[in-house]
């Protein structure tokens, strides 16, 4: 019987992290920022049907980058978790923080115990009743949970996008300047992105009970014009 080679735990974790990072870097990035009426989420996405951004609950949105089937599975988990909780308790008891923790647990468990880590990075955003209570939770492939302030960038090339975004972004911006800033940060200096290359949605305080709203191409064109 042949003995398996000894591989140090450090090496195993490093290999898994490299594997996940490579998978995520292949996909296109996504940004979320606060604006005057809530949170706007903008993804680079040429598909009009396979969404990266979606609604979880009244005030909670979800965004994912990386492998579609993996983050979509997480999205479905989130919707189910939120709807059951809202049914058993009250709609007020569904909050982003506990959902983000559950996601961190799932991603962390998968990262340490499974052969293959999930090649995803996700964002759970909750729009508060005031701008001060807005929340952005960024969860990495290994379960690392970060509570971000004001803006969040997910996916490949995140650092340079974050640099560009932090130059233009102000939390007092209206929707138009927020979307323009996000699209400019995603595209960078060498190319331009149009409405058909992007997916835009808002969690808007003024939207009634269900704050989540997807902006269609015509609206995005008007905002970018």
């Amino acid at each position: 019987m042949s003995q398996p080679f000894y591989v140090s735990p450090e090496q195993v974790m490093k290999d898994r992290a490299d594997y996940a990072r490579k998978g995520i870097a292949r996909g296109r990035a996504l940004v979320a920022v606060q604006y005057s009426d809530g949170i706007v989420l903008v993804a680079e996405n040429t598909s009009n049907t396979l969404r990266k951004i979606s609604e979880i609950y009244d005030r909670i949105g979800f965004a994912g980058v990386g492998k579609y089937n993996e983050f979509d599975q997480l999205r479905r988990f989130g919707v189910r978790n939120a709807d059951v909780k809202g049914y058993q308790y009250s709609r007020d008891d569904v909050e982003a923080r506990s959902l983000a923790n559950e996601y961190a647990q799932i991603l962390g468990q998968t990262f340490t115990h499974e052969m293959k880590p999930l090649e995803v990075e996700i964002l759970v955003a909750e729009v508060g009743f005031t701008q001060e209570s807005d929340q952005l939770f960024h969860i990495m492939y290994d379960g690392t949970l970060v509570d971000e302030q004001g803006m969040s960038v997910l996916g490949g090339d995140a650092e340079s996008i974050a640099d560009r975004l932090s130059d233009t972004w102000r939390k007092e911006d209206d929707l138009r300047s927020a979307v323009r800033g996000c699209v400019a940060a995603l595209s960078g200096p060498d190319r331009t992105l149009g409405a058909s290359d992007t997916e835009v949605a808002v969690l808007a305080r003024s939207n009634g009970r269900r704050c989540f709203r997807r902006l269609d191409d015509a609206e995005v064109v008007a905002l970018l014009a």
């Binding site: 969404r51 979880i56 479905r76 919707v79 189910r80 709807d83 049914y87």
Partner: protein
């Protein structure tokens, strides 16, 4: 998270059962006889040129006692449909809650809303699931109405206690005051009515039902409680304000006063 072989799909009721919650508590008819619980009474729906009008009185009764004067028996199911309930208040409210969640849950998971006919079908399954409770006198019979975005028209359905689903062409009224309300609708209904005429007709039907049925509440000008009247069109659900309804009920009274010549009858 669910694996591919035990995934509950887009149904909220299946999901609840999968996680061990039974949304319809009464399991079987054990023959305890009728339970005395609050009942709701006259609700109706009719079509007009741009969609449907739904309306319902506000009274809930327990035997001969008025248990609630402000109950809302007509509620939006989602943006383009509404549900009106006659029957036992408790299970009815629970059913509405599950139904609303079912529609929203599907919309979020699948990324698109259920078709109007699909929604009616879903409600019929919920009514059928409530059958054991109905056998013990806790029956719920709803009206479902909405704007069909595919066919660009208003449509409406009523249901029996076994979940039977019947699409009505123009109007329907159910509950203890459903008889007189239906008659008013039948006499006053015209195809392609304007929204204003349809709202007045709905108010008239409730007014006449309240006049003869003790379990139906009329407009209560003293407390400022008016029936729930809502329209559903391609712009979605919109509830009529009390200030819009009050003059209509005032006009019915003025008309009756004139007929009676100020005398009592």
């Amino acid at each position: 998270m669910f694996g591919p072989d035990d995934d509950p799909g887009s149904s909220f009721v299946s999901l609840l059962r999968r996680v061990g919650i039974e949304p319809f508590g009464v399991e079987s008819a054990s023959g305890v006889g009728a339970v005395n619980a609050p009942h709701g009474t006259t609700v109706l729906a009719l079509r007009f040129e741009d969609g449907v009008v739904m309306a319902g009185d506000r009274r809930a009764t327990m035997g001969h006692r008025i248990s609630n004067r402000e109950m809302e028996k007509v509620v939006p199911a989602d943006r383009f449909s509404g549900v009106a309930i006659a029957g036992t208040a408790g299970p009815a409210m629970d059913m509405i809650k599950v139904f609303q969640l079912q529609l929203e849950h599907f919309e979020k998971l699948d990324g698109r809303p259920i078709s109007l006919e699909g929604k009616a079908n879903q409600l019929s399954q919920l009514v059928r699931a409530n059958l054991p409770a109905a056998m013990q006198g806790l029956g719920v019979s709803p009206i479902f109405a909405g704007y069909d975005l595919l066919r660009r028209t208003g449509r409406l359905w009523d249901f029996d206690l076994t979940g039977g689903r019947y699409e009505e062409r123009d109007f329907v009224a159910i509950g203890s005051g459903g008889g007189p309300a239906s008659t008013v609708l039948k006499v006053g209904y015209r195809p392609g009515m304007t929204v204003d005429d349809a709202v007045t007709l709905a108010c008239r039907a409730l007014h006449e039902a309240a006049d003869v049925d003790a379990a139906t509440g009329g407009a209560d000008a003293l407390r400022g409680i008016y029936p729930v009247v809502a329209t559903i069109t391609s712009d979605g659900w919109s509830r009529r304000a009390d200030t819009d309804l009050a003059p209509r009920f005032e006009a019915f009274l003025a008309e009756q006063r004139a007929i009676l010549g100020g005398g009592a009858s």
